[in-house]
Symmetry: C2
Subunit: 206 residues, 2 copies
């Protein structure tokens, strides 16, 4: 269908959940049609990493100039280094009707939600969250304090989730990839999106 804008897909989740692994698995497939938005960072390239492929490597000064100029859709500082998403690439790709895929930290996702509320926000959770209750209460031998702490941690995770449209359990990488692809496919069929395209074609105004 013509006149269709691309979807902004945002994959995020608690650190250590395996966002990067899932993202790499998605983009290792030939039939993946999303465009991956390469991040900008001030951290040094690791062995084998290439500028413009893995990251755009910038100096701290260059990065801060990008912040000042509003050239970043989101950014965050993590272990002393900046990481960010260039907004220009995202806008151009979406306007060309292609889906853009971001894999970012939760603080960044929050910034993107404010600027692109219509984006597709996916929260990746560890498989352990599935057995939340048994994980929290353990084998019944845990102290009340431990149970309370775990309960608190789970509630904080739930609060984080609140910003997202979908929650995907990262139990097996392959299965998480399939679920994410299904979500994108489904989202393209959402009535509000499809209807909008039809209305534009028909010249119907509400």
């Amino acid at each position: 269908m013509k006149g269709k804008k691309g979807l902004l897909i945002v994959l995020s989740g608690p650190s250590g959940v395996g966002k990067g692994t899932v993202r790499k698995a998605i983009f290792s497939k030939e039939d993946t049609e999303y465009e991956y938005s390469i991040s900008v960072t001030t951290r040094k390239p690791r062995q084998g990493e290439m500028d413009g492929v893995d990251y755009f490597f910038k100096s701290r000064e260059e990065f801060e100039r990008m912040i000042e100029r509003g050239e970043l859709l989101e950014y965050a500082e993590y272990v002393g280094n900046y990481y960010g998403t260039p907004v220009d690439y995202v806008r151009k790709t979406l306007d060309a009707g292609k889906d853009v895929f971001l894999e970012i930290e939760v603080q960044g996702a929050k910034q993107v939600r404010e600027k692109f509320p219509e984006g597709l926000f996916i929260f990746l959770v560890p498989p352990s969250l599935r057995e939340l209750k048994s994980r929290i209460t353990g084998r019944g031998t845990e102290t009340e304090e431990i149970i309370q702490n775990r309960m608190q941690a789970a509630k904080e995770e739930l609060l984080l989730m609140n910003l997202y449209d979908y929650v995907v359990v990262n139990d097996k990488i392959e299965s998480a990839c399939n679920t994410i692809n299904a979500i994108v496919k489904a989202e393209h069929c959402r009535r509000e999106r499809v209807e909008k395209i039809y209305k534009e074609m028909l010249g119907v105004h509400e």
Copy 2:
């Protein structure tokens, strides 16, 4: 995840769009996990059709008694015969955590939406709707009246669509099936649903 209620999946669309064919294709697959809700009808069985498999065949009197007793989730009269969905089966299956699949006419879907607003409503459209504009204006040789009539028909189809969550183009049966399965998969991951399950597990009340 335990404590999860099944999804009510409603497939509908304009008559002649191929709802039945798509539904049969979905249920011909071994890995389909939805439960198909068998309709009740007053029409005579066709050759090869079995009671309790294709339909529950009832007399007009029996059907009208079901209506009176509120035993039908939805019903409609079509070419002199009643068709309806027994509500009891639907509720029990959903409560058992299984997804129920209904393939019904648009008037029936409207009734279901009122009783199960949380259901998953999928509207199947003919592939021609994709090239809506060119179909309406034709090759530029159509009279203004024909164009206006087509425009009107397309707008009515758009109005029907309004009740649904998703719109699927029935271009190829296989592709329509895959899209419907993706939608169901995605819907199970919607944050509101997942969050509710977690909150129940944690005993969190809003």
